[in-house]
């Protein structure tokens, strides 16, 4: 289970990277970015997973999942939202100024 999560996370990161390398459209590049960050979140959350663990409310000797990665991911998600929205604003602005979102046409980006 934990391995599945990590592997899926890394696959998502690779997909995102592929999008950023292969796609010329700015919006798709932003999508690549979002996919990468989703992959990261998945990766991190899986790190904290403990087999048969329960929610980290300490009561007795139960196995519980590591809460730290989850809390960290809350911060990361906020940051990602921030970055994504900023990227989208910039994309809008670029479209407004240049009337295109194709990076091959928008030289020097």
């Amino acid at each position: 289970m934990i391995l599945n999560g990590i592997i899926t996370g890394i696959i998502l990161i690779l997909i995102g990277l592929y999008g950023m390398i292969a796609k010329r459209h700015i919006f798709k590049i932003i999508l690549g970015l979002i996919i990468i960050s989703t992959g990261i979140v998945l990766f991190f959350v899986s790190l904290g997973y403990v087999n048969n663990g329960i929610a980290p409310i300490i009561s007795g000797d139960n196995l519980y999942v590591d809460p730290l990665p989850h809390t960290l991911m809350l911060t990361t998600i906020v940051v990602e939202v921030c970055i994504t929205s900023l990227a989208l604003v910039l994309a809008l602005k670029i479209y407004e100024k240049y009337k295109t979102l194709d990076i091959k046409i928008l030289e020097d980006i």
């Binding site: 990161i13 950023m20 700015i26 590049i29 970015l33 990468i36 960050s37 990261i40 990766f43 991190f44 790190l47 730290l68 990665p69 960290l72 911060t75 990361t76 940051v79 921030c82 970055i83 900023l86 990227a87 910039l90 994309a91 602005k93 670029i94 100024k97 240049y98 928008l106 020097d108 980006i109």
Partner: protein
């Protein structure tokens, strides 16, 4: 006062400033607040000086949690060096840009807080968060009235967020292997990390600080941004990447770092060479300065990769010299109308500070840059990488060519215009700092040597 105030005061003032947007704009009060927002952290940082100098490490646990669980802020000589340097320059840049919009000041203060946070925190994830605050604000600050600035900002954003993603991935793996995120605790465990983790951090911080094949965002972002923004981007934000490298590589990734020494030194040398040649071929002053930052970053990276104490001292002096001189040069560039190298025109009050900044960048004697160059070359010869000393000196000749060319054009002609004193004074101060630190380096040698010792070189 506790060192936490260095981090939270800028955030707090920035918050107040943004609340003030509701009311009618009071420029005096706004300027006052934005200066105090940096001045108080500066004073707090200065107040720790005597303690830091005697080798003490000032610790602050946020919320009183133990370092295992909570976040620790620590002020040692290295943090002090960077924090003091950056706050001094940030005040000067703030004075220079007082006439800008309130939004600028809000973001600027946020950035200051983020920067200080990175310098003080000892928690890797916390470092990531502060990095994001720093980056997001700078992505926005890069945008100016110019059309191209959106593209530059987008480019910066894309590469910057890849860098932070890599950083986060690395953090995850470190957490998985060690179970803690506190740098001191991890380094006291003394276990070598996975190579892939090290490379993740290297790539990430390489993007942030502009090592050669990862430098692509620098020339655009630095040249298109407004002059004060270029000044702190080039002078300080790049150095923050270098700081994190120092902090992480000499502690957490110590073994990995020393294993890959040769590669990193070669990487630094390549950065130096490419940076200087690219700077030579530029026709726009600010773009030239941006590439020259890459050149200097290469030298710094090279110096820090030697792994010896001399190398670290050289790198720190180089950081100091480059920060001061580059801020001076970029602030000067803000007072020059046409930035095309062939049409440069200016008054003596711009051209002389520019000249001083330029010779400090080249590393000529009696400037701060020379002290850096001296130590770096000494370290290179000491570790019998004499070839790299040759590379550094050779590229300093190239930078002499392009910087003195620009400064020659500035001397040649003059143009009539008025510049307010709030913009002139920071330029004067930074340029005289270049000389003062060059003639009296003993003023700061204590703290630099102490900082180098806290990291601990190979020997």
């Amino acid at each position: 006062m506790d060192i936490i105030f260095i981090v939270i005061i800028p955030f707090f003032v920035s918050f107040i400033l943004s609340l003030m947007r509701v009311f009618r704009r009071n420029i005096f009060f706004e300027n006052f607040l934005s200066i105090t927002g940096i001045l108080i952290p500066f004073l707090v940082s200065v107040s720790t000086f005597s303690a830091v100098r005697s080798g003490e490490i000032i610790t602050y646990n946020i919320g009183g949690w133990s370092p295992f669980l909570g976040i620790t802020l620590k002020m040692d000589a290295l943090s002090f060096f960077f924090s003091f340097l950056s706050l001094t320059l940030l005040i000067l840049i703030m004075i220079y840009s007082l006439s800008r919009s309130p939004e600028y000041k809000i973001l600027y203060l946020l950035m200051t807080g983020g920067m200080q946070g990175i310098l003080l925190t000892r928690d890797i994830f916390n470092m990531y968060v502060f990095f994001e605050i720093l980056s997001v604000t700078t992505y926005i600050l890069v945008v100016s009235k110019e059309k191209r600035s959106y593209k530059a900002s987008f480019k910066y954003l894309t590469l910057g967020s890849i860098a932070s993603v890599l950083f986060l991935l690395g953090t995850g793996i470190v957490y998985k292997t060690t179970g803690v995120l506190n740098i001191d605790i991890i380094s006291s465990m003394n276990t070598p990390q996975l190579k892939i983790t090290f490379l993740l951090f290297l790539t990430s911080l390489g993007i942030k600080s502009g090592i050669f094949p990862l430098h692509f965002w620098i020339p655009d972002a630095h040249s298109i941004a407004p002059p004060p923004v270029s000044a702190f981007l080039s002078g300080l934000v790049l150095k923050i990447g270098i700081y994190s490298m120092l902090r992480l590589f000499y502690t957490v990734f110590r073994t990995n770092f020393f294993e890959m020494n040769d590669v990193l030194i070669a990487l630094g040398a390549i950065t130096v060479i490419f940076g200087s040649f690219l700077a030579l071929s530029q026709k726009n002053l600010k773009k030239m300065l941006a590439y020259s930052s890459i050149n200097q970053i290469g030298i710094i990276f090279l110096a820090l990769s030697f792994g010896t104490e001399l190398g670290i001292i050289g790198g720190l002096y180089m950081i100091l010299a480059h920060a001061v001189a580059k801020v001076c040069l970029f602030l000067c560039s803000g007072m020059i109308g046409d930035l095309n190298l062939l049409n440069l025109k200016s008054k003596p009050f711009v051209s002389i500070p520019f000249f001083i900044g330029a010779i400090s960048m080249i590393g000529l004697p009696f400037t701060c840059g020379f002290i850096g160059k001296y130590y770096v070359c000494l370290a290179a010869v000491e570790t019998s990488y004499t070839l790299y000393a040759g590379v550094i000196l050779f590229t300093s000749i190239i930078s002499a060519v392009y910087l003195l060319r620009a400064s020659y054009y500035l001397f040649r002609t003059s143009e009539d215009y008025k510049i307010p004193y709030s913009m002139r004074i920071p330029v004067y101060i930074t340029s005289s700092l270049c000389i003062i630190l060059g003639i009296l380096p003993l003023m700061i040698s204590d703290i630099v040597e102490l900082a180098a010792k806290t990291l601990g070189g190979i020997v």
